[in-house]
Amino acid sequence: MAAEPLVTLTIDGREVAVAAGTTLLAAADQAGVDIPRLCAYPGIQPMGGCRLCVVQVEGLRGYPAACTQPAAQGMVVHTESDELLRLRRSTMALLLTKHPTGCLLCLHNTDCLEHHGCAARRSGTVTGCRFCPNDGQCEFQGLVNRLGLTDMPYPVEHRGLPVDRRSPFVDNDANLCVLCGRCTRVCAEVRGAEAIGLLARGEDTLVLTAGDVPRTETSCQFCGSCVDACPTGALSERVNKWIGPAERSTPSTCAFCGLGCQIELDTVGDQVIRSRPAPDSALCVKGRFAVVETLLPENRAVAPMVRRDGRLVETDWETALARVAEGLAGCAQPAVFASRDLLDEELMAARSLALDVLHTPHLDSDARLLDGDFPATSATLADLRAAGRIVCVRCDLRFAHTPVFLAILAGLANGAELCCVEPFGTDLLPHATVVRRPLPGGEAAAVADLLDAPDTVVVWGSALMQSDAGAACLELFAASGAALLPLLDGANSRGVQEIGIEPADGGRGLDTWFEADSEVDGLVSLGHLPLGHRPPLRFWLAVATSLDDATAYADVVLPAAVFAETSGHLTDLFGETRQVTAAIAPPEDCRSIVDIAGELTVRLLDLPRTAGAPVPRRRSLRVRCRLMGETLLLSREISHFAYLGNALTRRVPGLAPLALEDVVRIHPDDAARLGLAEGDEVGIETETGAVAVTVALSQAIPDGTARLVLRPGEEGLHGPNPCPAVFVSEHEAARVAATTAAARA
């Protein structure tokens, strides 16, 4: 690409050379001249709306807006003068009529701030700066101060709008909105979502979703970009709403999937208050909104626990570790499980614990079960942006791997052709040139002839690898010569592969540890093992971050630190090593998994072990139900909302309406035929078991099929996938659930 010709101009006496077509605002930034601005924002097109960036150009009439005026050879630009200041102040005063807080002009604001501190009080709607979540970090406050605005010549009205709290993560106090349009433009131009817009006209204009429906019913990705773009307190993140500005910020890597997105963890004292994308990065809802609540002590295992008289009771570390040594001494063949979300260092410790300390070959992780036998990644996000053709198979990118969605949109803008092979609807389909909608399981046949174009990148999600069609598709992908981009859900599935968390010689894989003929009789799980029951074991040590169904059946639980509390490395799905840095200390009694492994090594190294009494093994139970007489093709997948094998939805309630876990989605026509309505409880039975689930209706599901997203821990992936599933009447649902529970117990 030929370089743009340069033009030279002078801004406030500084000479600067910029590419032709550069705006005066960008040229000034380059020259180190800071022009006041409000509606201009990185990454979006200039709007020329707020008129705060007006400048004077010698020889030009009037006061052009620097954000829209292109630089020209020889221009002489002045950004500060009495007249410009007068214009900017009157513009700001007009904006203040839409931002009714008298505090901005209060003569005692500094003393009041010193007395109360930032965001001192919580309130319904914001009635002043000390009552505003944005206090002390507010761009608007900064502009008023910078322009030295002291008088309010216009009457001010509060619009009396209620705070909109319908979004799971964001509050919207429209009374503070100055209609700069940054949120709506970022949503459309940067995120490609177009979930919100400036609706109505004139005085009544508001930032709303189309039809003012809740954001969950729009294309909103819950990425938080609108909150980050808001220069006022109108949009605020609920979880840190009244905490005030961050004291420190720590760069790290998000551990909620394999993309290795770079994040900044904002902290106040010993609390992470916000996770936001690092400069020039983007995040999905997990990285942006799930971190803070995942770390909250109220959602955590915070003390060692041992089983006494059938119940888990809190104890101290020494007692718990002694109990571990005693328990494992009675196991002839313990197994070691390491979650695919652990850091490289933690995986190494797990491997060493199995092979060098416990001398057992039964070592495995959940990476293979959930992410499949993935090949090496041979595409980058940059390849997507420059691709000739992008082929997506089972890519649901709205709430997971969303930065890939952005890269695909960039690729389309650069002329790529998008081919989607999706049994179920996704947000990509409207952008696709070729749309194939096979039944679940039919992906391989549908994708076969799409792989031969030059510069093809194939992207696929874990739903494909969890399906029986996965292996056939992988063969096609490998044979095609296309660049490959498997979207791994595990934060460190690649590390699991490289470090070798896999059964050693004579060892069993995770999927057969608990079968009837298995010799595995003890278990050390680092991270949550997706089980919903007590397997036939003599002893189970769960090193866990929260208490849930998985830990409920363990003999000892040791509380572990999570990624924002420990430092180490992750190997992302591209094979890059990413630095993870502790931003805060773990809760008082929690320890890092590396430290825990060290403690275990001291106590377990060369520990003599002899098998105790045999463990009774149950036969799996079959559930029979009265049939409704209808069979749909059921596709099962494990939720993307998982961390260390835990369901994130348990810790972050706002994720539940996005995740739709334990909900079976079917087409409205099928539902009508079956006599089912949204929210009905229904039982579904397959060859291998039965579950009770809730019905949701979706046009995105083809007739005759059903999509079921399971929480990690549900035993939903055993047996063929997809498979025929029989729907049983709602009266049977409760009995199905009870029988399933009995079978587990």
Binding site: P100, T101, G102, C103, L104, L105, C106, L107, H108, N109, D111, C112, H115, H116, R121, R122, S123, G124, T125, T127, G128, F131, D151, M152, P155, V156, E157, H158, R159, G160, L161, P162, D164, R165, R166, P168, D171, A174, N175, D204, L206, L208, D212, P214, R238, V239, K241, W242, I243, E298, P653, G654
Partner: protein
């Protein structure tokens, strides 16, 4: 259960709450307060009494939507009930002839000052009320104060109503003009009250403030409202709520008010995620959406 005779938003975040409670209305005196709960699981909170009607058996407060308990309170509807309404609590204001009384109120204090101002007027004192708000749209009850006071001044931070500045700016100007009040009241946020205390120290004023501490039982048992006045530990509930403003340890008071902030924020988080706040709307004066 006590009937909510009225729950209405006066101005954004400021609500008037009138409860049918003859046992309180019969005995309550200006300067006293009540303790109530919005629901069976609610926190006990103290509210200043802003008016009462012995005949109708009703007691009125003005409260600010400021935390979890008051956010729930602000969503109760007229005609509903609350499970707890205890009072009258605290010592009544001492109302004696003292010449001129200046009453400075901001926020909920504009309401809390009203019965005190009325009592001083009835006792034959000259009453000067200074009502402050950040801005014009947060002012309320100006007419009520005008009906009972000799002089009423309105102060706003941005000058959109009355004069520009806060109440103690006006008091300073009045003092500079030769006013010599026998008694000064300041009720509202701690910034108003502590600033008034500084002024009282400089100009040797007899200043009363009503402290708004955390409180549980309101009868001197829990100690939650402990504060320090004149170097002595005091309980705001039984020794107050009114204290000599110059004697109050304001820094200690602020530290104690912040003590339960993490728990308060956690409760607000739970309330928010429960969806209880999402579905109900406080009565605003503008158009609704959603």
């Amino acid at each position: 259960m006590y009937e909510i005779v009225e729950r209405r938003q006066l101005v954004p975040d400021h609500h008037v709450l009138t409860i049918h409670a003859p046992h309180v209305a019969n005995k309550v005196q200006p300067g006293q307060f009540v303790i109530l709960r919005s629901d069976e699981e609610g926190e006990r909170i103290p509210l200043s009494v802003a008016d009462f009607d012995r005949e109708a058996g009703t007691v009125t407060s003005v409260f600010l939507e400021a935390g979890a308990a008051t956010m729930k309170l602000a969503r109760l509807e007229t005609g509903g009930t609350i499970p707890t309404y205890m009072g009258p609590l605290g010592k009544a204001s001492e109302v004696e002839p003292c010449g001129t009384v200046v009453l400075m109120g901001g926020c909920y204090g504009i309401g809390a000052l009203y019965p005190i101002a009325r009592a001083h007027r009835a006792a034959g004192n000259r009453v000067i009320s200074i009502l402050e708000a950040h801005t014009q749209w947060l002012l309320y009850w100006t007419e009520r104060h005008q009906a009972i006071a000799d002089e009423v001044y309105v102060m706003t931070s941005d000058g959109t109503a009355g004069e520009r500045g806060l109440s103690f700016d006006k008091l300073t100007a009045l003092l500079d003009g030769g006013l010599a009040p026998g008694l000064v009241y300041a009720i509202g946020c701690t910034f108003l009250m502590s600033s008034a205390a500084k002024l009282a120290e400089e100009r040797d004023l007899n200043l009363k403030v009503a402290l708004n501490t955390v409180m549980v039982d309101g009868t001197g048992m829990c100690g939650g409202c402990r504060c320090s006045a004149g170097g002595e530990p005091k309980f705001a509930c039984v020794d107050g709520p009114e204290f000599d403003g110059r004697a109050v340890d304001w820094e200690g008071l602020m530290a104690r008010r912040r003590a339960y902030r993490p728990q308060e924020l956690a409760t607000m988080r739970r309330l928010d995620s429960s969806g209880k706040l999402a579905s109900s709307k406080p009565a605003g004066k503008g158009p609704h959406h959603g």
